[in-house]
């Protein structure tokens, strides 16, 4: 049966945001929060891309004087920090925010206001770093700042503090987001969606969230220790004061490596969804892919020392980490095998999202294999801190995460906007980006093997690096042009794209049941899941349950393993408090760059705003006013 108009109108009235700018500031709709995350992150990716082009231009000619050392060091620090902390991780969280409720047939995230708080705090981190850049106090020590160079003695001023606080900003936002995503996936699955029937995308987001929860505290601790060393003269990283410079590296990379898998694991979720839909068959080796994802998540915490092979740690320890680092190639390899097997035994439809998956496999496997090469403790002594590693990290980050992300945009764009992106321009952008990227970054492998060190603002003539650097510059320019074509296609299709309907690709998961663009309440009823691919296995009418409140915001809470309905949880409505709290927290973070007293003074506004946020709005004791409801 089609839900009647009255049913939808009552739902829409309960779930609609207040109109206008106030609605924009107070919304807790996971789709609007995700959309602003994606827009901000894509704009920052463009800015950081421009920085990359700047550096490529500087390196295209030996002894180039276009950029001085200070400007170049600021550029690569800002490029790295922005791409990793302000673009990649937030984009993956945004995809989770946008898709997890839709795939669960739920009406919002578990903690709606916490989602709003995550975005505003992330946005505070963006402003903290980029306003500092505008004011010419850009951090200039790279995206990981090893003491003692980042210590009080060798980097005066507040540049390193701004970098460290920006990380604290984004990591608190990421932690809040991952607790939100994990709680949503564990406790809000539709009736019948047991763990065995959970789509791979949700497994990917769950595992990435758990990895975030366990790894981000390490970087928050280490940046706080660095700021303490710089501001209140603690001795964590001063060898003469009893500290150890390597303690920073251990703690940072204990976070660093899981971080890059937090970026990669969601990408495997995107690829699995796309491959399943465009091969038009159930994903081959569902359990193999999920188990591989789990082992990648677990192994990621056991191999951080491969970033420190050259610091002179005991050899046997290094060899253990070689084995652990190489072992991660097994689950990754099995995942790749399962995707290719799914395509092999399916009826392939080569639309743009599938093109991106093919681009992903072709590029990421090169990155994975160059990763296996640098994983060797011995060979890494020749490869680390050279352009070989720059090539490897771009192949696994752009090839392994950005290409699936472009595919995911092309795949879920019709669901978000109701219109299809143009296939022709989609493939032109694909050729531009993938072709340009490989032209740009393949030569860097050879530059590294020809001895070009990393992070050099210029290099002497006569080393044989000139032509390869010029090819790399050309390739990067082509890739960025392709990126602009992709964005232009997205913007153009918003108005003029072919109308898509609710399920243009014939997808297998629940997000294709709701209309596109989905209304504020996502779906009229709570779907019941009886298989891994509900949209394919059920008849014309999707089995669903009624009974969730229509006149107040309610979400269904189910049990963790078997998704048995437990109770109807009141879902928080729009509120300004998340924004207020994130302003208070931002003020405290920025203040604490200048004086430790800012933490004590800043605590008061934070306490006040959090009280406002969590103050349950129920009737006062003894008054007979009916329950205030929404």
């Amino acid at each position: 049966m089609i839900p009647d108009r009255a049913h939808l109108d009552r739902l829409d009235r309960s779930w609609r945001d207040p109109p206008g700018f106030w609605g924009f500031l107070t919304t807790v709709d996971h789709k609007r929060i995700a959309a602003r995350y994606i827009v901000t992150a894509l704009f920052l990716m463009f800015l950081a891309g421009m920085l990359a082009l700047d550096m490529r231009w500087q390196l295209s000619v030996p002894e180039n004087t276009r950029m001085g050392p200070q400007l170049y060091n600021e550029s690569f620090s800002l490029h790295g920090s922005t791409m990793l902390f302000l673009v990649s991780v937030p984009l993956m969280e945004a995809m989770a925010f946008w898709l997890v409720p839709l795939m669960l047939g739920a009406r919002n995230m578990a903690f709606p206001r916490l989602g709003a708080f995550s975005f505003w705090l992330y946005f505070g981190g963006v402003l903290c770093l980029w306003i500092a850049h505008a004011a010419d106090i850009t951090p200039d020590l790279g995206w990981f700042e090893y003491p003692p160079l980042s210590g009080p003695a060798y980097s005066p001023g507040h540049r390193a503090d701004i970098w460290a606080q920006m990380i604290t900003f984004t990591e608190v936002a990421a932690l809040a987001a991952s607790v939100n995503v994990a709680a949503t996936i564990l406790k809000m699955r539709p009736p019948g969606m047991t763990l065995a029937r959970m789509p791979v995308f949700l497994w990917a987001m769950l595992i990435a969230s758990i990895m975030t929860i366990l790894s981000m505290p390490a970087v928050m601790l280490v940046t706080s220790m660095l700021i303490a060393d710089r501001l209140v003269s603690t001795h964590f990283f001063s060898p003469a004061g009893g500290g150890d410079a390597l303690l920073f590296q251990h703690l940072f990379w204990f976070f660093g490596h899981p971080e890059v898998y937090i970026i990669f694991v969601p990408a495997t979720g995107f690829v699995s969804s796309i491959v399943e839909t465009f091969s038009r068959r159930k994903l081959f080796g569902h359990s193999a892919i999920v188990l591989s994802m789990m082992s990648i998540g677990a192994l990621a915490f056991g191999l951080w020392v491969h970033h420190m092979f050259a610091v002179g740690l005991p050899r046997l320890g290094n060899d253990f980490y070689t084995a652990a680092s190489m072992a991660i190639a097994l689950p990754a390899g099995l995942q790749i095998f399962c995707w290719i097997a799914t395509v092999w035994s399916g009826r392939l439809r080569l639309a743009t999202p599938m093109l991106w998956v093919l681009g992903f496999v072709a590029t990421f496997v090169i990155g994975g294999l160059s990763g296996v090469m640098t994983a060797s403790a011995a060979l890494d002594l020749q490869l680390t801190d050279t352009y070989f590693v720059v090539a490897h990290l771009h192949y696994v980050l752009i090839g392994g995460a950005m290409f699936p992300l472009f595919g995911a945009f092309a795949y879920w764009y019709p669901k978000a906007t109701g219109r299809l992106m143009s296939e022709r321009w989609g493939s032109i952008a694909f050729i531009g980006i993938v072709g340009g990227f490989n032209l740009g970054f393949m030569p860097m492998h050879f530059l590294g093997l020809m001895g070009m060190p990393r992070r050099v603002y210029t290099y002497p003539p006569g080393m044989g690096w000139e032509t390869l650097n010029q090819i790399a510059t050309l390739g990067s320019a082509v890739a960025i042009l392709g990126g602009l074509v992709f964005v232009a296609n997205a913007l153009w299709s918003y108005r003029h794209g072919q109308p898509a309907g609710s399920d243009p690709w014939g997808g297998s998961t629940l997000e294709w049941a709701s209309p596109s663009p989905p209304p504020a309440f996502n779906i009229a009823y709570t779907p019941v899941v009886r298989s891994l691919t509900p949209m394919w296995d059920e008849g014309p009418g999707l089995p669903a349950m009624d009974g969730l409140g229509l006149d107040r915001r309610e979400v269904l809470i189910t049990s963790v393993t078997a998704a048995v309905p437990l109770y109807r949880q009141k879902s928080a409505g729009p509120s300004i408090w998340p924004l207020a709290s994130s302003l208070a927290v931002s003020a405290m973070f920025i203040g604490s760059i200048f004086t430790p007293w800012a933490i004590a003074i800043g605590a008061a506004p934070i306490a006040a705003t959090l009280t406002g946020w969590f103050w349950p709005d129920r009737p006062r004791a003894g008054s007979d006013a009916p329950s205030a409801g929404a």
Binding site: M1, I2, P3, A110, L175, S178, V179, N180, A182, A183, M188, I213, L214, P217, A218, M220, L221, M225, A228, S233, T234, H235, F236, G242, G243, D244, L247, L251, A500, G501, S502, A513, P515, Y525, P527, V528, M535, G539, L542, P543, A544, M545, D546, G547, L548, E554, L556, I557, V560, P565, Y567, Q569, K570, T611, W615, P616, R618, P619, A621, S623
Partner: protein, 205 residues
């Protein structure tokens, strides 16, 4: 809105309760999530402490006084004793005992406030300023990390207490009291390893 998939109603959820207790409740999982985050931060801080300790020629470094045992024992004793009223409040929350929950929250707020006093003296008697050497920095870091948790939970309990006394308490609010009590147990459990690290490891090494 474009056409959407038809539905076939197979059940009704309206008879489900609108709250639950313990791990069946959604907010309980959010609470656990944040406890895991802070627990990982404590574990990593302890790892940093042990890392520096194992590499130091002498622990505590020569010339550094031992951290005072008097106030720390008073604090630790008080904290462990506070587990009893805390468990009672937890029980009241589970059995939805309104008066017990209100007076329990007030009692826990006062107890936490009282514990601030020995904690303040602990800071004074740590024996080493944080800026002398890495040993001083580490024990100050551990103590400050734990103190922030004591303060935040005290404030959370205080606000909850004020709200409980002035409002009609619903099932969700009982769940909030339960989570608050669980969080206080977490604060107690975290303190035990840190107490050993700060006060007894320097004496044992």
């Amino acid at each position: 809105m474009t056409a959407m998939r038809e539905f076939e109603l197979v059940g009704d959820l309206s008879r489900l309760p609108d709250s639950e207790t313990g791990a069946r409740h959604l907010v309980w999982w959010g609470n656990v999530g944040f406890m895991v985050i802070e627990g990982t931060a404590f574990a990593l801080a302890a790892m940093a402490y042990l890392y520096i300790m194992t590499q130091a020629p002498a622990w505590p470094p020569k010339g550094d006084a031992m951290p005072g045992l008097l106030w720390s024992s008073i604090f630790t004793g008080g904290l462990l004793l506070s587990a009893l009223p805390n468990l009672w409040v937890l029980h009241c929350a589970k059995t939805k005992n309104l008066a017990g929950v209100r007076w329990g929250a007030l009692a826990m707020t006062v107890i936490a406030l009282l514990l601030f006093v020995p904690r303040a003296f602990e800071f004074v008697h740590l024996g080493v300023p944080w800026h002398r050497d890495s040993y001083g920095s580490l024990i100050w870091m551990l103590l400050i990390l734990h103190t922030t948790h004591v303060v935040t939970d005290w404030f959370d309990t205080a606000v909850l207490g004020v709200w409980l006394f002035t409002h009609e308490v619903g099932d969700d609010q009982f769940a909030d009291v339960e989570d608050n009590a669980n969080y206080w147990s977490f604060v107690i459990l975290c303190w035990i390893p840190i107490y050993v690290l700060i006060y007894w490891l320097p004496r044992a090494a």
